[in-house]
Symmetry: C2
Subunit: 409 residues, 2 copies
């Protein structure tokens, strides 16, 4: 590329989304791209010409290392849905106008399903209107629900945090023993796909009995069966820890969190704001069993805990960004980088580029055969899949006792 | 000491309570104590003669290192209140009977206010009845509310976790910028003392603007003033993160969490089970401002996150246990080890032993002069006090991608 590029971040942040822009930047510098712009608050900010130069932050040798250790979206994120092209050509023309103004040849967008739709729309528009600019997607989502790719950058770190926290919560919960059994329900993110909640299964090991049950949104949630199981566990165990997805639904299609609160808010994409599933179930269990219960929501902690990020995840996020730049350099457009697992043991993973049309707006769920027949556990096949993704650590740079972050001026 | 000793843990676990029993064990081995017993589930288990030999777990050189990295109470904890002596002499005699049976000369008890009461009662009984056995308290509480001692082992690690998590939550919360401001309320433990919530102030630094307000239980909570401030912040800021103690109370003495739920459960010590303060306030803010709100409870995560423990805290917890053994070896009884700060900069801290009667059942709160005049912030004096306590890290031993723990067989 002889001109410049721009990179942006979109959707819910992850612990490693910044590693992807670090990867784009590093590859761009290698192939001689002149300027790497960052769009502030994704395509929404780009439409207002809000750009920064990445060089201002990354020219110092510690810049990239610090960026890799910074949670959330360094550039700022957005939840902006590109309008359909027909009748909104002005919005699309605006994107190309700003790209031309800054001599931007390629736009890189790190995000999940909704963000890949933006890449698709823009590359479709370019193709239909003979525009030379290219558009590349970099996968990013703690939800791990993008298709084609073996897994998504962001998932490994969230899974490592979830499994570590579950292990610590289980240890805490069992401290009072049989005299004071506590029934603890931990709510984990994941609206439709149970990948994050499945990570609770990783807590089990030689030094931890793991969760007593794990409920994914892939299976219809039966409250009566749950309460029956809860009563049994409460009678037979001195400590009970259960993991539930925020997105579990009862047979009539309502989310469990809606049973507690009918006025669930909705975001720009029409997604309901989830919360309160664990609290609702904990109250039911307390009423049914008389046990002391506790509800824990991992909330945004699970997507922002870069202090405990997976090194494998950080490296793959970096590589996905890097590969996107190289693919664009080769002339590709309208594609997303995928992670391709070559081997489970020892774990090896490469990258390739895939047609964005097969990816945008498609959600991949936990395969049925990875859920145990009773519907509340994960099989060894899942563990084999997920364990390599949480391996390794990248120690934060601690200043004043806390991890140091890179921030926009 | 020519005989044996026993060590126990009581009350809510911390990230470093196990370092204290490691310290007792290490000192005991040094001075030639024959056997170090561990009481399973504190004095409650001891009364049932539930003992293990620490040697079984700690003889291998990695044992102590692993114990230091294990959250919660390795020996199991309890919430058992010793009855008043009059009319319950049998319970006290039982303690001495079991001590004699195992040739136990001294009992070490790591815990907070309620646990120090157990040490006081037992040493008082021994004194009144001419018993030779000794009783030593080892401070332990994330609440940091024991008097006399400069601070309490367990607080520094909880504070480090709280400040790190707040910093990550703030980073996450600000990612969507002014177009989609989110109002986030984080609920932190602390029934009567605001030490833990105060730690939210440590998040502020060159790379973080910190919390927008911090509400401690030391100050009466004024809901109208809070909502007014919330509305102002919602209008003027693109991201708002507020820290509240679970123990904040309104003017009539009710806990804020009771306003949401009148049927708050009560534990063995008559303490109310707190939860729901942030959720209640977030709902009020949403109704008042129309903003998207989010409530996060750090729950038991904040006391069990040994993966992010403060090395200073681990070392001091170890030293407190060690000093307790040395003090007992010198013939002391009915005392608790205190941490004595000698210097702020560079931070230096020693230990001494103090009469348990001045400590048991006394709660130390955050001094009024460390709370800013507006009642929702901490002064530099607090930062100067707390910063040294969160310094340093002890890297977990990671196996299969997760911190390894030491567990009882």
């Amino acid at each position: 590329m002889r001109g410049n590029i721009v990179v942006g971040q979109s959707g819910g942040p992850t612990a490693v989304i910044n590693s992807s822009i670090a990867g784009v930047y590093a590859a761009a510098k290698k192939v001689g791209v002149k300027k790497v712009f960052g769009m502030v608050h994704g395509i929404e900010g780009f439409l207002e010409d809000q750009l920064i130069e990445m060089e201002d932050y990354l020219e110092h040798p510690t810049g990239i290392e610090l960026l890799k250790r910074t949670p959330s979206a360094f550039l700022g994120s957005c939840r902006f849905k590109m309008p359909k092209i027909e009748g909104h050509e002005d919005v699309y023309e605006k994107v190309f106008e700003i790209m031309e103004k800054h001599d931007i040849e390629c736009l890189f967008y790190a995000g999940g399903n909704d963000s890949m739709d933006t890449v698709k729309m823009l590359s479709d528009y370019a193709a239909a209107h003979g525009k030379p600019q290219r558009f590349m997607g970099v996968p990013k989502t703690i939800d791990n629900d993008l298709p084609v790719t073996d897994h998504c950058p962001g998932y490994g770190s969230a899974a490592k945090y979830i499994a570590t926290s579950l292990k610590e919560v289980i240890r805490d919960n069992e401290s009072f023993g049989a005299k004071k059994p506590t029934f603890c329900i931990v709510e984990i993110m994941g609206r439709n796909a149970g990948w994050l909640t499945a990570a609770a299964a990783l807590a089990k090991g030689a030094d931890c009995n793991g969760c007593d049950a794990i409920y994914l949104p892939e299976k219809t949630f039966d409250i009566d069966a749950f309460l029956e199981k809860a009563a049994y566990l409460g009678k037979t165990k001195s400590s009970v820890v259960i993991a539930v997805s925020e997105g579990i639904k009862v047979a009539d299609g309502r989310y469990v969190c809606e049973l507690a609160n009918e006025n669930v808010a909705v975001d720009a994409f029409g997604h309901k704001q989830m919360s309160g599933t664990a609290a609702y179930l904990a109250q039911l269990v307390a009423e049914k069993t008389g046990l002391k219960t506790r509800a824990i929501e991992l909330s945004t902690l699970q997507r922002s805990a870069t202090h405990l990020a997976s090194l494998t995840d950080i490296n793959e996020a970096f590589q996905a960004g890097y590969a996107a730049l190289i693919a664009a350099e080769e002339g590709k457009t309208g594609m997303m980088i995928t992670l391709d697992r070559n081997c489970d043991d020892p774990y090896q993973c490469g990258t390739s580029a895939y047609d964005i049309h097969a990816i945008a707006n498609v959600e991949r769920k936990v395969p049925d055969e990875w859920i145990t027949p009773d519907g509340c556990g994960l099989t060894d096949a899942y563990i084999k899949y997920a364990r390599p993704l949480i391996m390794g650590e990248l120690l934060p740079i601690f200043v004043d006792g806390l991890p140091l972050h890179l921030v926009r001026k």
